[in-house]
Amino acid sequence: MSASRAAAAGREAWTPADARDPAAVSARLRARGVVLEPDEVRLLTELLGRGPRWAEAVLFGILWSEHCSYKSTRHLLKRLPTQAPQVVIGPGEDAGVVALPAPCDDLVLVLGHESHNHPSQVLPVEGAATGVGGIVRDIVCMGAEVVGVLDALRFGDPRSGVHARDVVRGVVEGIAGYGNALGVPNLGGDAVFDAGFDTNCLVNAMAVGLAPADGVLRSRVPEGPGPWAFVLVGKPTDESGFGGAAFASGELGDPGGADPRGAVQLPDPFLKRVLNAATYEAFRVTRERQLACGFKDLGAGGIACATSELAAAGGCGAVITLESAHRVNRELSPEIILCAETQERYCWVVPESFADELCAIYERAFALGDVHPGAGARVIGRAVEEPRYTVTWHGETLVDCEVRAITAGRREEREAKPRTRRQPPRARRRAPDPRRALLTMLGGLHVGSRAYLYRHYDGDVQGRTWLRAGEGDASVLRLHAERPTGVAFAVGGNPFWCDGDPELGAAHAVAEAARNVAVTGARPWALTDCLNFGHPEDAEVMGDLEQTLAGLASAARALGGLAAVGQPLPFVSGNVSLYNQVGPHAIPPSPIVMCAGVIHDVTRALGIGLRGAGHVLVLVGEPRDGLEGSTYAREVLRERGGPPPPLDLEREARLEELAVAIAEGGWARAAHDVGDGGLAVALVEMMAGAADDATLGAELDLEPFEVEPAVSLYCERPAIVYEVPFERLARLSQAARDQGFVAWPIGTVSAQPQLRVRMPGGETLTWSRVELEQAREAGLRKLWNEEGV
């Protein structure tokens, strides 16, 4: 490495005198790819008491980016409930940690949720893959083994152009290629298509892990005298992903910016699989020897952020000798080595006496260097008592500041105002053909089958999977081969509803995720979220965001009772993704929520597929009384906008309590949430979930509903359909009454492979299972197979 390069990184980026015109400094920095707002230029000069070196300017530019600092939202996020008895570690670390009930109380569940929206829009395969890779590292750095991933996807309208379609295919390829090779089962998620995401797709990746209850690692230098060594493990540092945080904190296609593709990281699931296996071995050894350790993944800001935050969280300082870091065999400037977002790396803090042994696990027992040239493990620094963070490069100082400067944090006050919403168009008075209406909806991308998509994903690897994507309203894992306990996962978030009413839409997102978990028989246990929004400088975007937080909070406060009576359902981890906007059009407000649930006995988990002819179909929930926000209104009546259906959170809590009681009592054979597309689509999906050799169908009688048929068939207010053996009907009905609900017998499971609906007045409508399946499968298959525009 030439001395001149080092000198550049160590040279002053601006002088205190320059800082008197912070706007000019800010503009000059931006031209060099460093983003610091004018007031941040002033603040950094004050914090350091001098002009910063270039390496310091790069570091603080990343630390204070929206992506890393949450400066526009951190204070607002305090509005979400995060405390409950089961919470071990709430938001603030890389992932949240919750306790599990006996007999799995020796384990904890680790939950994380990230977005990788901007990278996936620009380079869909790599962007989505590194999204999975990043969230997996967040789980592992808590000391956990990763046992599942989920993904919530929001795509543009494929009819909008070739790129929207290529984004869909690329994102799915990226998720599949990474997760499958890593050997982590995909537990589902959801996918929505809407023109509002044409220029900004959303890729939210969630991951779950398991750790011994006494084996959780923190991202900090441990207490005690040490001496502590910082050990960097994994891929050799290169220039990939340099500037990724700034990229994620601005608008795509910003004309002043460089080609953003260089800021997208490069995925390597093959190396990651070996790196994780070696890390799990290191967990085993450090636990066995009862060694205090700190552990953190390298994400935005690379070595600089990871090591400085480890030191800051431990209340001490650090000296990093950057030239010790293993890196690719070509010349890189020191600030790039310091801050690049090279994937597949972690940083340990271990007793110095253990450092060589730790390196040997990675370099010899797992021979990382054979797997990827230059990969390995190196001691790159040590902790010091004085709270000062120093980075040197061959003896020259690149960074030297008090740790408190790093943790100072930033807060950006943003104006918020409620958005003026369009009045929803008045309902047109026409009666579409009810038979064709169902096929139209099933053939669309919104409620069609997701099988074409999820069959790209390995859902069974690791052997714990009990209910897979498409088999239940939530996916279920059995936690331990000799115990009955399981965990369930589902996601929620309807952008159409959030666009119509951000607060009510957000409440629905929580309710939907929690209800899906409860329908399978699991108790909603904890939440994660990502808030995907447009520019924070836009007051209406901030208004949407504040309303969204209100909705998430009110629903979470109402729905925690199944884990701990009288307690909220806690948010334990989350993420905010802003700047999902090009020009004046922000994406629809898009909170995406994951709910994790706990089921005491997985053999009680209810799937959606019909099981046996002669069973009674029972509807429990809110009345079928309107078409607000329904898929039917959008796709058949062609009405856009307007609010979602109402949501009574107190009744929602009782509905979920009832759902868990029904599953635990073993009173039903199948259960399905009435969601997108209403009761008719729910029944079609239950038929599709039947066993492959079964010729089962559903007979539905609309007479008892006393509303027009379209409303009973397509209303999307919360409800659950159960398949109940006749002899269990009385027990289930009594339980429903106890919770203030009526269990409506609405039909039966038939031995005819068809959906038959008896309309009020006696006319019947019939759809064959084959025609329903063909319609459901058509949308995504076409999306993957059509060429050209």
């Binding site: 499958n180 050997g183 052997g463 897979r468 053999t603 009680r604 597929g609 197979n785």
Partner: protein, 283 residues
Amino acid sequence: MSAARVAIVQFPGVNCEAETARALARAGLETELVRWTRPARDLAAFDAYVLPGGFSWQDRVRAGALAAKDPMLDELAARADAGAPVLGICNGAQVLVEAGLVPGSGNDEPGAESRDEVRVALARNRMPERTGYYTRWVWCRVEETQCVFTRALEPGALLPLPVAHGEGRFASAKKGRVAALAEAGQAPLRYAHADGALAEAFPENPNGSDASAAALCNARGNVLALMPHPERAATLGQVSRAIGGAWGERRDRALAAGDGSAFGDGPGMAIFHALARFFEGHV
């Protein structure tokens, strides 16, 4: 009598070693993970070998191609020649086929030059209107065979198992070769419909495999290349709810009973129990 010791052979990128070990332990077998960084001669001390699924060496060149050249495969070939059972699951099957252990030297074509010549390959899935990796639970029909891993099962019996791969199509340059192997009893499991009829078309035959072969073994029957994943079907209750037939009925009955019987053996355990039974006669 000490339990038979099974080496779980792991190349980098193999990712199904933990559940494979659990399934073997469930069958009463003792296992040890042997990583690629150990010397090949360490393998000599074991009674049987399992190559689990995953992406060895990142599927570089072709799935299984690089691992097939590892010195460990020479050791495995020698042990297989001595009669030791060897099971390759998914990527492990790809390795065994690439290394020529399956279908093996017992089936040399007239004019074939050496065992290294690849006569049967696991080619890319052939699926209408889709490409790449594909996952699904499928039916596998047990065939009349001398294969160590299936010979105790009744011919015609059906096992529901999950497949998850992008290159699982047993194929040969010479037309009819896979069918001839099946004819000779070297395709112990073949893709079928729920009613037991052989599945020729997608999706029941999930990859377009010749002769609907889900697995091929060597002539002696002690080396099996199996594309589906039995270790993921070790428990009755975890059998996909899309699966009907006798296994589906058994699963639903056990789930409805709520008495823990759903934690009993799933269809995949048949393969691992067969290995354990092999040693009851031998060790």
